[in-house]
Symmetry: C2
Amino acid sequence: MNGGIGLDRLSLNQATVKHLGLKETVALCVRHDIGAIGLWRDRVAEAGLAEAAAAVRAAGLRVSSLCRGGFFTVADPDGRRAALADNLAAIADAAELGTGTLVLVCGGLPPGQRDLGLARRMVADAIGVLVPEALRLGVRLGIEALHPIFCADRCVISSLGEAVDLALLFPADAVGVVVDTYHVWWDVRLADEIARAGRRIVSFQVCDWVLPLPADTLLGRGHLGDGCIDFAPIAAAVEAAGYDGDVEVEIFNAEVWDAPPDQTVATVRERFAAVLGRG
Amino acid sequence: MNGGIGLDRLSLNQATVKHLGLKETVALCVRHDIGAIGLWRDRVAEAGLAEAAAAVRAAGLRVSSLCRGGFFTVADPDGRRAALADNLAAIADAAELGTGTLVLVCGGLPPGQRDLGLARRMVADAIGVLVPEALRLGVRLGIEALHPIFCADRCVISSLGEAVDLALLFPADAVGVVVDTYHVWWDVRLADEIARAGRRIVSFQVCDWVLPLPADTLLGRGHLGDGCIDFAPIAAAVEAAGYDGDVEVEIFNAEVWDAPPDQTVATVRERFAAVLGRG
């Protein structure tokens, strides 16, 4: 491809070095000249919100996103209230951490339910409740379409087009979509839907689809270039749609997690440059 | 739902009782008053084509489909010729067995390739080569969209809409689509695409999506009602599209395969009536 994405836009999502705490990951980014980080709430909470915010600020890192809110498909009123409260807290956390993006994993079918339409309405309703706070704090909610393999148990939003349709129900300053190559690479409509998403794209996450899938299908992700995803046309479409933010490398993979973090991050940088970079 | 699908339209796909040979499966259908069978080429070959055809005829069974042709995404010319020859033979087998439908599993990415567009063009090209023979012998090629989990390694046609787009390139007498609940249940566009498929639907296969997925994700299928698929609206959409043929129960599941076949088929009948039947 012409152009490509420079290493200055590489962001390390914490999940790629899952065994490290927040401050260790911040230090790792600094050590490897990575300018941005994608944070996870559990690690932020462990470090303390104010301390986490201070650590990334002191290191001069951009926070490309906070992972994650969502899990809205709760049928009982108490559970639903708790989910909304947790998401409001996540929006506040995102603002405090200095990121404009809260990634949403919207939730699967409620236990014992088979009604996808109901579950999808629950997602739309919950996002609607969150929009005023998102606008007030300047945090955009990023609806992430998850691979259809996760439709039943993690996210009933199974394609980018569906995420875009949902986002378009709300103000652009409040709700966007996340493009994660792992989840959407198979979709024949992908280029069209990325174009349609346009400026609604609030996060671009990359990792590869590797075969064979592991027993825990959540962990079947690989370093860029280790699998079968053709990244160049996807990245070009995301660029053409107007996205010029950070690009997060987020790899869920037990072997990657067990590797020395410095080695992992060196590979992340090298592959980012080779696969997405200015050839 | 009003109406529903009568047990007279139940077809037992051989894969549901994988450990049985063809004649045993034919006898099982007769014993359980099942009027139709979905055949597999390996079991037909093992029994002998003429003998298999004679056995199903003698038993008075309809053959709802032959599984399967496809695997078109072969890059080298010899492999491609072999794939086409094998598919021409499959069309002839289908005609000999008295079925009007050959199910196609189109193939994944060619080894070492990442170009989904190329793979999809290879599928379209191959189907084009097969159409004249399909028309001559009165066998319709049923393009089956497989779940996106199989996009890389088994079938680059990952949604029903894509299968419909592909089928529409060819005469309706030659090429249609297969609707398999397991592969398409997650798709927010499903009802629209079933309606658009209309009379192009040449096979309707049912089984459930069960959690947790097994280590071999090919085998994560369950008896109707054991998983999370809402069958009634899908079946109603398929009916409304004009499909009035047999409905195959096809379950890939190691536990189901290890159960006594008479018990499996009794469960198949009972669930079919309860989940799809005239309530």
